[in-house]
Amino acid sequence: MMVGAIIWSWQIFGQYLFSSEILHGAWVTIWLTASGIGLGTCIGAVLSVFGTSEKRLSRVLYQTYTGIVRGIPLLVTLVLVYDGLPEMGLTFGVVQSTLIALAINESAYMAEIIRGGILSVPHGQMEAAKALGMHRTKAMRVIILPQAIRAAIPAAGNEVNGLLKSTSLVSVISMTELFRVTQDIFAVNFHPLELLTIASLYYITMGTAWRGIQSLLERRFGAPTASKSRMKIRRPTAQLVVTESS
C-alpha cells in the first residue's frame, strides 16, 4: 500500500459544495424519489386491493406480480427497461425509462406495505361499510384504504428513505441525478473523494430532512384519534384554571 501526501482539497470541496450542478443533481434525486413513491403508491394501492381480495385468482396474480418484481434487483430492472425493451420495439428515453423502472419496482413494495395496512384495519370496518349499503370498491376507497394508508405511514416512510438512496442506481442508464453529476465532475477533475463526500453529505441531509417530515406526517395522519385525545385531556385543565381565577 502506498501512502501518498494528503491531496484532499478544501478548495475543490468548497467550489462544488453548493455548485449549481450539484444542487440540480440533488433536486433531480428528490423528484425521482417523489415520483417513484407517488407512482408506486398509486399503482400499489390498486394492486393491494387485488392482494387482499376474496378471490383466489386475484391473490395469485398479485403474488406473482410482486414476487417477480421484488425478485429482480432495481438495477437490473432499470437496464432491462432501458436496454432490454427496445429489442421488443419499446424504446423509451432516459427519463421515461427511469420513471417506468422506479414505478414498477416501487409499486410492488408499496403494494406490500399497503396490504399490511389493509390487514391491520379491523374486519368490522368493512362490515359496517357494507351494512350502510356500500359496495366493496366504494368501501375499500372511502373506509378501508384511508385507514390502511395511515397505518402504513411508518413503513412507507422507511421506503422513501430507502428509495432516496436507491435512486443513485439510475445513474447507470445515464440519468443525471446527484450521483451521476458527481461522477461526471470527478471524471474530469480527478477529485473523487471530495465530490463523493459532497454527495454523501447531500444524501445524509435529505434523509434527515425526510425523517423530520415523516414524524410530522405521523403526527398529522398516523393516529388521528390518539393525537386528538391528547387535546381532550388538556381541556379540563384549562377549565380548572378558569374556575380558580374566577
Binding site: 384495519v121 379491523p122 368490522g124 370496518q125 362490515e127 359496517a128 361499510a129 357494507k130 351494512a131 350502510l132 349499503g133 356500500m134 359496495h135 366493496r136 370498491t137 366504494k138 372511502v142 373506509i143 384511508p146 385507514q147 395511515r150 388521528p224 384519534t225 390518539a226 386528538k228 385525545s229 381532550k232
Partner: protein, 271 residues
C-alpha cells in the same frame, strides 16, 4: 274474494322479514338449523338465547353479511342475496347486494365506527357515499340525528375519544341516517359497561316507539321484555319458542326456555 283471503293478502303486504327454512353451517356446527320466521312491519322482535345460539348469524343473514346455505330470506318481499331473474338462482353481484342493504340498518356489538372519521362524519358517511346527498344537507341531517341520540356536543370527536355507550349511539345515528325501514341490533349493549348500557337502551326504545321494524338480539332481559312486541327464544341454531313478552318470560312453554330464563334471571340480571 272472501274476507279471510283479503286479510291474508293485506297481512302478506305487511311482512317485513320472512325466513323460510334457513340453514347455515360453520363446519359441523349448525349456526342456523331450518329457521322459519316472519316479522311484520313495525314489529319489534327481541331475540334471546344463550351465546352461540344463532342470534347473530340470523341477523347477519338477513342483511347478507353472512350467506345462507339453505332456505330463503325475503325482506320487504325481495329475495335477499339471490338473483331470481334467470332460471337458475345465483348470488347477487356485489353492487346489487350492496343496494339491498341500504334499507336495512345494522348496529353491531363492537360499534364499528369508522376510525378515521369524526362522529359527525360517521353519521354523514352513508348519506354522502351511498345516497349521494349533498354535503350540506347530509351535515344538517347528521347534526339533527346526533342531537337526537344526545351527542350534539360530540360532533367533532373521534372514536377513541368517545365512551363505549357514546360510540354505540353514534353508530345508531349512522344507521338511522339512511332512513332504513328495518333495523337489526346485534347485541348492541354486550360490549358496554353496565352504567352506559342504559343510555343506549333508551335510544333504542325511542326508535321502537317511532314505529320502525326492529330485530334486536340481546342479553338484557328486562329491556327485551319492555321493548318488544314479541320475543323469540333461540337455542342451538333453532327457534325454540316464540311468544308475547309477558307470556314467554312468565310462562315459558318449553323446558329449554325455562332453564335459560331461570339461569339468566338468577345470575343477577333483573327483569
Amino acid at each position: 274474494m272472501s274476507a279471510s283471503l283479503l286479510d291474508q293478502a293485506r297481512d302478506k303486504s305487511r311482512v317485513a322479514v320472512e325466513l323460510r327454512s334457513v340453514s347455515r353451517h360453520f363446519g359441523d356446527v349448525a349456526a342456523l338449523e331450518r329457521v322459519d320466521l316472519e316479522v311484520l312491519e313495525s314489529q319489534v322482535i327481541a331475540l334471546i338465547g344463550p351465546s352461540g345460539s344463532g342470534k347473530s348469524t340470523l341477523l347477519r343473514c338477513i342483511n347478507n353479511l353472512e350467506r345462507v346455505d339453505e332456505g330463503s330470506i325475503h325482506v320487504f318481499g325481495e329475495r335477499v342475496g339471490i338473483s331470481e331473474d334467470s332460471d337458475r338462482p345465483r348470488p347477487l353481484r356485489d353492487r346489487a347486494a350492496a343496494a339491498q342493504r341500504i334499507e336495512i340498518g345494522m348496529v353491531f356489538q363492537n360499534f364499528n365506527l369508522f376510525g378515521h372519521m369524526t362522529a359527525l362524519e360517521n353519521v354523514m358517511s352513508g348519506l354522502v357515499h351511498v345516497r349521494h346527498t349533498g354535503k350540506d344537507a347530509a351535515r344538517a341531517r347528521a347534526v339533527e340525528l346526533l342531537e337526537r341520540v344526545g351527542l350534539g356536543s360530540k360532533q367533532r370527536s373521534y372514536t377513541l375519544q368517545l365512551s363505549g355507550g357514546q360510540q354505540q349511539r353514534v353508530a345508531i345515528a349512522r344507521a338511522l341516517a339512511m332512513s332504513p325501514r328495518l333495523m337489526l341490533f346485534d347485541e348492541p349493549t354486550s360490549a358496554l359497561d353496565p352504567e352506559t348500557i342504559v343510555e343506549v337502551l333508551d335510544v333504542i326504545r325511542t326508535i321502537a316507539d317511532g314505529g320502525m321494524t326492529l330485530l334486536i338480539a340481546t342479553h338484557e332481559m328486562g329491556f327485551a321484555r319492555g321493548v318488544s312486541d314479541e320475543v323469540v327464544f333461540m337455542d342451538a341454531g333453532r327457534i325454540v319458542e316464540r311468544g308475547l313478552p309477558q307470556e314467554l318470560f312468565l310462562r315459558p312453554k318449553t323446558e329449554r326456555c325455562q332453564e335459560f330464563l331461570s339461569r339468566v334471571l338468577h345470575s343477577g340480571r333483573e327483569l
